[in-house]
């Protein structure tokens, strides 16, 4: 049991609005943690703070890299990613004009620090190619390897979304609404994919999700955010039984 990601009184204000309010969390490497909460609870802002897209108003973020917790509070997004914190996006954000393989190649080049390599051919690194093939296999994307992303279905793009984030071999993997906009069949596929990834990959998963079935299925631990602050946290059954949680949800939005 090791803490890999820690926030300490993390706060972010937009003018008068406090979007994230003194969140202190510890994410453990053995668990799949889900962060849930009604719309506007601050989940996306929280992710943007973690990944360096937004700067916190106050508080600190620490990430385990090279065996110790280091502060990454002020690091820009690319530094955060290099230290091992990776994310997928709620609204699909892949390189549309590139093939699936090229998408993953971008991630591998970034991971291997070869972004300033002008000389070799992009696809000439055998180790990287193997890694990409393995990822394609793992995410069931092999048959689309050479298809441009803008020709893929929504469900397939969601997989590319996940594969991309995985390709940089993260310590912590933030999944932002992995089943957003999916039909039940596609959702089931993603859930089984997450299970599979959790088994095969040595990364810690943090998931935000609307679909409660998905949440209960995959989570070891649940954190509930409401109005930017932590409302409850703990084992799924325990948290979901919490009255305040039901209230927070029913108060704003029926499930």
């Amino acid at each position: 049991m090791t803490v890999v990601l820690q926030t300490d009184g993390l706060t972010r204000q937009f003018g008068q609005l406090t979007a994230v309010d003194g969140v202190s969390l510890e994410i453990d490497d053995e668990e799949v943690t889900s962060i849930i909460g009604p719309n506007g609870a601050g989940k996306t802002t929280f992710y943007n703070l973690l990944t360096g897209v937004l700067e916190p108003t106050s508080g600190a973020i620490r990430l385990r890299s090279d065996g110790e917790l280091r502060e990454i509070t002020d690091d820009p997004p690319h530094e955060v990613a290099r230290r091992g914190l990776s994310r997928s996006y709620q609204i699909t954000n892949v390189f549309e004009g590139l093939t699936v393989r090229e998408n993953l190649r971008v991630a591998r080049i970034a991971r291997e620090g070869r972004t300033l390599d002008f000389r070799s051919r992009a696809g000439s690194n055998e180790a990287a190619n193997e890694q990409i093939d393995w990822l394609l296999e793992l995410t069931n994307l092999a048959e689309y390897a050479d298809t441009e992303c803008d020709e893929l279905s929504h469900g397939e793009k969601r997989k590319v979304e996940i594969a991309l984030a995985l390709a940089i071999e993260p310590t912590v993997f933030l999944l932002d609404e992995p089943t957003a906009g999916m039909n039940p069949t596609e959702t089931r596929k993603i859930v089984s994919l997450i299970h599979r990834l959790n088994d095969e990959i040595d990364a810690t998963f943090v998931v935000t999700e609307h679909d409660m079935d998905v949440v209960t299925d995959i989570s070891d631990r649940i954190v509930v955010l409401a109005d930017g602050a932590v409302l409850a946290e703990g084992e799924p059954a325990e948290v979901l039984a919490d009255e305040r949680v039901t209230e927070a949800y029913l108060g704003s939005e029926a499930l």
């Binding site: 990944t51 994310r87 996006y89 090229e102 972004t115 984030a165």
Partner: protein, 394 residues
């Protein structure tokens, strides 16, 4: 003797049969193209060699510009400053240093040595300009990037016009004469039409290959990812701003090479090379040709320059050539969404389809296919007003 001829003939025959059998592979096309370009310098009329040399230089200018625009998604409206940087770098070096070079290496090889050193100096100067200008410019994106590069470009233009320290000769520009080189009794003039054509061909060819390698390298892959989604690239660990800066510098350096070449061709380093309208040339050539294809800027430069030349041959058109260029630009943007290169690419796909139809069912099938696709095309055009979402294919 006859056996030799036979072997050549049979080899050509074999090559042709191969080509027909296997289709036109990329390697064969490149070989044929290179042969054509080499022969061109011998057989073409003298003026055509001049025009083609100019085309090659403008093509390199547009190609280098497109490294930043088409591959990284940043539209620079001030790239002419690097063209001028290359021109003036060479001109100033020749003006100030040629006598010293001559003292060191002797009068014979001096012109050639000076030119080489001048070219190196010019490209270094361009890089020295691009490092700070790029560092500042890549802080901005989209239209703001276009505007700040426009402002930097016009700043450079203003400085050149002011003739600082008597270096740039103000609005007159500096004449660049490439003299006679004498090495080991052999004399040649670098500025000679044919020699300059081959020199340009070699440098532009090598630069094109270099740019092609860059866009297909890991660096180039990152460029494309930034074009598609800078946010996502950053989330994968790419330092987007730094990478854009590097692309800016590389792009500028190749434009600098084009600048060195244009000064030698037109024999002058002129402030016009720095003006925003010169930057517009690269933009227009790239858009005409198609920014999403590697060869787009090359084809665009060809269309641009040869359309201008074609117009100049007709006095009635020449008097109002800007009108026709304007109409051409408007029509291309409106009706050729993927540029001329895209049009050619679609034509090629279509021809291959016709060929496939011919293989399947002979001439009748091919004619049928042509008729069918033409009807489809017409039908699609009439529907286009409703369903047309347009968009550049990427």
């Amino acid at each position: 003797m006859s056996t030799h001829d036979d072997s050549v003939t049979s080899r050509i025959g074999e090559f042709t049969r191969d080509a027909v059998r296997n289709g036109w592979t990329r390697e064969r096309c490149v070989v044929l193209l290179s042969l054509g370009l080499l022969l061109f310098g011998v057989v073409a009329p003298s003026f055509q060699i001049y025009l083609f040399t100019e085309f090659l230089i403008i093509a390199l200018f547009a190609l280098a510009f497109n490294l930043l625009y088409g591959y990284t998604g940043l539209l620079s409206f001030g790239h002419a400053m690097f063209l001028a940087g290359g021109s003036y770098g060479l001109a100033i070096f020749l003006q100030e240093s040629e006598p010293y070079v001559s003292n060191v290496v002797g009068a014979g090889p001096a012109p050639l040595v000076s030119w080489v050193l001048g070219a190196v100096f010019a490209v270094s100067l361009v890089i020295a300009m691009a490092v700070p200008i790029g560092w500042l410019s890549v802080r901005l994106e989209e239209i703001y990037f276009a505007l700040i590069t426009l402002a930097f470009g016009m700043l450079v233009y203003s400085v050149i016009i002011q003739n600082p320290q008597g270096l740039t000769a103000g609005s007159d520009g500096i004449n660049v004469l490439l003299g006679v080189t004498e090495i080991g009794g052999a004399e040649f003039r670098l500025g000679d039409r044919q020699i300059y054509y081959y020199l340009t061909l070699g440098i532009v060819g090598a630069s094109t290959y270099g740019i092609w390698r860059i866009v297909n390298s890991p660096f180039g892959t990152i460029c494309k990812s930034i074009r598609e989604s800078p946010e996502r690239a950053a989330a994968l660990g790419v330092d987007v701003r730094f990478h854009r800066w590097m692309t800016f510098i590389v792009s500028a350096a190749f434009v600098g090479i084009a600048g060195v070449l244009i000064a030698g061709l037109s024999n002058v380093a002129s402030p016009y090379h720095a003006h925003w309208s010169e930057s517009a040339t690269a933009v227009v050539a790239t858009v005409i040709g198609g920014a999403t294809y590697f060869a787009g800027p090359i084809i665009g430069a060809f269309v641009y320059l040869y359309a201008r030349w074609g117009i100049s041959r007709y006095p009635a058109l020449e008097a109002h050539w800007e009108f026709f260029m304007g109409v051409l630009i408007i029509l291309v943007v409106l009706y050729f969404k993927v540029g001329a290169a895209g049009g050619l690419y679609m034509l090629r796909t279509w021809l291959l389809d016709v060929q496939a139809a011919y293989r399947r069912g002979g001439a009748n099938a091919a004619v049928g296919f042509v008729r069918e696709s033409a009807t489809n095309k017409l039908r699609r055009d009439s529907d286009a007003s409703e369903s047309d979402t347009g968009g550049v294919e990427r």
